[in-house]
């Protein structure tokens, strides 16, 4: 269990204010050695500020940060056992690739020959052998990022911080680099903390992610839990698509919750937490089924009229106006080439899903 290990980063009640703006609001969690941890959230949620506090570029207004057991208050960036890959990469344009990678070793007194050898080795790690003598302006964006990675990893930090590392790459390269980063993390065994606004990035790479909004950490969990068991409307909505219906709890019995939902009537869903009053009843689009006839009982059903069909090749997104007064999105896998079953706008359809796939969202 990760919880049994000693955390590499302890973030204790961190609050950061810029004037009257609260960038981080009482943030408190641990990151464990060897984790690939993501700070995920929309822009302005405080994730980058938190990362910069880990690196030492910002100081917390309140709270403490410990890295590898050492309190980091008053420790300047150049004395911290962490290294950062900047969003702009910040590869020094006036130095060769090799000098860039060796820089962090030279400034801390590593002998020139050793620094060179270790820099070459680090370049090998990111598949840039033979690029040592090039200048940064002769490299592509992806290559510059690898230089930035090598430059940080050569220092053998306890934690590698990555600020939106994939945002400047084109789509194809981004997918390749995701796998590459995960591979690299397995190879070097260093804790990675990555900041991203892209939920796909976080879900596909991270072991755990902290979802942040307006300076607060909303939920910390593994990708599967974040997607299937979001603890709030914000997380459910931010991670993936979701259809939400407003309901009122009318009874609790034996791990099942009875909820009155407009247009659907009384439905029963499994729920093991506390819930009362107004709740959100939610379902992911891919968990729903569409049918022309009313489906068998035991499912939650809802009637709707198709208003839009968005074709994406492998799947289609169907938009329906429902009796619940809410627009619902469902996804349909295009499993066959034939378009016989294709829906057209104006069709009346039944939407159905299993009570087990229903999310109950408080707040």
């Amino acid at each position: 269990m990760t919880e049994a290990r000693k955390p590499i980063i302890r973030i204790r009640n961190i609050t950061k204010r810029f004037g009257s703006v609260v960038a981080c609001d009482n943030v408190d969690f641990d990151i464990y050695p060897g984790e690939f941890f993501a700070l995920l959230g929309p822009s302005g949620c405080g994730k980058t500020t938190l990362l910069r506090m880990l690196a030492g570029f910002e100081s917390a207004s309140e709270g403490e940060i410990e890295i590898d057991g050492q309190p980091m208050l008053d420790v300047p960036p150049n004395k911290r056992p962490v290294n950062m890959v900047f969003q702009s990469y910040a590869v020094f344009p006036h130095m060769t690739v090799l000098d860039n990678v060796a820089y962090g070793l030279k400034v801390t007194g590593v002998p020139k020959a050793e620094a060179r050898a270790r820099a070459e080795e680090a370049l090998g790690l990111v598949h840039l052998e033979g690029y040592g003598q090039r200048m940064p302006d002769q490299l592509s964006g992806g290559q510059r990022q690898r230089v930035a990675l090598a430059r940080a990893l050569v220092k053998k930090p306890k934690v590698l911080l990555l600020d939106e590392p994939l945002s400047a790459l084109d789509a194809k390269l981004r997918d390749a680099m995701r796998l590459e980063l995960v591979r690299l993390q397995h190879t070097v065994g260093i804790t990675f903390v990555i900041v991203t606004h892209d939920q796909d990035e976080a879900l596909s790479m991270a072991d755990r992610a902290a979802v942040m909004e307006r300076g607060k950490v909303m939920q910390i969990a593994g990708p599967g839990d974040l997607y299937e068991h979001p603890n709030s409307r914000f997380v459910a909505d931010f991670i993936g698509k979701v259809n939400v219906f407003e309901g009122k709890v009318s009874g609790v019995s034996g791990g099942r919750l009875a909820v009155e939902v407009g247009g659907m009537g009384r439905i029963e869903v499994p729920h093991d937490g506390v819930a009362q009053g107004d709740v959100g009843i939610a379902v992911r689009p891919e968990k729903t089924r569409l049918s022309k006839d009313r489906p068998a009982s035991g499912l939650i059903v809802l009637k709707g009229k198709v208003t839009d069909v968005a074709y994406y090749g492998n799947e289609s997104h169907i938009l329906l106006d429902t009796d619940a007064g809410v627009q619902v999105t469902t996804t349909v896998q295009n499993e066959k080439r034939s378009t016989d079953a294709a829906m057209t706008i104006g069709d009346d359809m039944w939407i159905s899903w299993s009570p087990e796939d229903t999310l109950v969202l408080n707040g």
């Binding site: 690196a55 030492g56 570029f57 300047p76 960036p77 150049n78 004395k79 962490v82 290294n83 950062m84 900047f86 969003q87 702009s88 910040a90 020094f92 344009p93 006036h94 060769t96 820089y103 962090g104 400034v107 801390t108 003598q133 090039r134 200048m135 302006d137 002769q138 430059r151 940080a152 220092k155």
Partner: protein, 304 residues
């Protein structure tokens, strides 16, 4: 809208006033001076056109050469001091919080709002024997003297001797630093302002201290701004006339003063013209030096 540069007629119309102005008031006078520099001085001090290199021969004789050499020295020293004072100043403004930048920048350029002559006279008021600086020193001296009196050692400081701060080379250097500092700070500030601060953060992140970061990252990356500022301050110092004229002593004559003397009291325009061109050639040489260094350093980037 169509790019106006594509239309040659429009381009010509817009360019005409400036071209005409520069031709009439810059190129033509320069050509006249150039022609004069090969002329001869008549018996009454009038300029007679000729084709003679004598003025240039006189310009590289010992005394003018010594004055030129001295001008180069004073310009160099004042530029170095400008750089040492100007770099922290430019950094201070460039890295200041956003709302402070414009007020600070305003303070840097504020002296331009007053006439140079008045500003230079102000330095006389500060530096002269009975000036503000000596006044302040005398006051401090008196205070110390009284202090020593209290602890039973009266007269230890001796009589106050005012310092001779004015009418020497140091006064000229002080004046030049004062006048040219904004010219060095402004281009440097512009470069520092544009510098991506994440380079500096990356350097710190990689374990370099502040000084190491300054010399290994900040200075190389702002070299174009440093070069422009230094060049501007140097060329302005080299050709200066007013500052040594007002603040300098008898041995503080710079090349600008010599040229002024030839055009003025000596009434030897041909020699003055030749001196002007020698000064211009020196300036061109400095500019060429800068261009060569710049192309070499960017050449490294391309060749790799």
């Amino acid at each position: 809208m169509e790019d106006w540069r594509k239309s040659k007629a429009a381009f010509a119309i817009f360019m005409a006033p400036a071209t005409f102005w520069l031709l009439l008031f810059f190129t033509v006078p320069l050509a006249i001076i150039w022609v004069y520099s090969f002329g001869e001085r008549g018996p009454q001090g009038q300029t007679e056109l000729a084709v003679s290199l004598e003025n240039y021969a006189r310009a590289v004789e010992w005394i003018p050469l010594k004055i030129l050499w001295k001008s180069l020295w004073i310009a160099t020293i004042s530029t170095v001091i400008c750089l040492l004072l100007g770099f922290p100043l430019a950094m201070g403004v460039a890295f200041a919080p956003k709302r402070w930048k414009n007020p600070l920048l305003l303070i840097v350029i504020l002296p331009f709002w007053t006439n140079l002559l008045i500003r230079t006279y102000a330095w006389i008021a500060i530096l002269r024997i009975s000036g503000f600086l000596n006044f302040g020193l005398e006051w401090a001296h008196g205070l110390l003297d009284a202090g020593f009196g209290v602890i039973g050692m009266p007269g230890l400081m001796g009589e106050f001797q005012p310092l001779e701060l004015l009418y020497n080379n140091s006064a000229v250097i002080v004046g030049l630093v004062y006048v040219n500092l904004p010219f060095l700070v402004l281009p440097l500030y512009a470069t520092l302002e544009k510098l991506d601060k994440s380079y500096l953060e990356a350097s710190l992140d990689l374990g370099a201290g502040q000084w190491r970061t300054f010399f290994s990252v900040t200075v190389p990356l702002t070299m174009p701004g440093i070069a422009s500022g230094v060049l501007l301050a140097f060329i302005l110092s080299l050709g200066t006339f007013l500052t040594p004229d007002l603040l300098g002593g008898t041995d503080s004559m710079m090349i600008g003063n010599l040229i002024a003397q030839e055009f003025g009291p000596s009434r030897d325009w041909p020699f003055g013209s030749a001196l002007s061109f020698v000064l211009m050639y020196v300036t061109f040489f400095v500019l060429w030096l800068r261009a060569t260094v710049a192309s070499r350093s960017s050449g490294v980037g391309e060749a790799g």
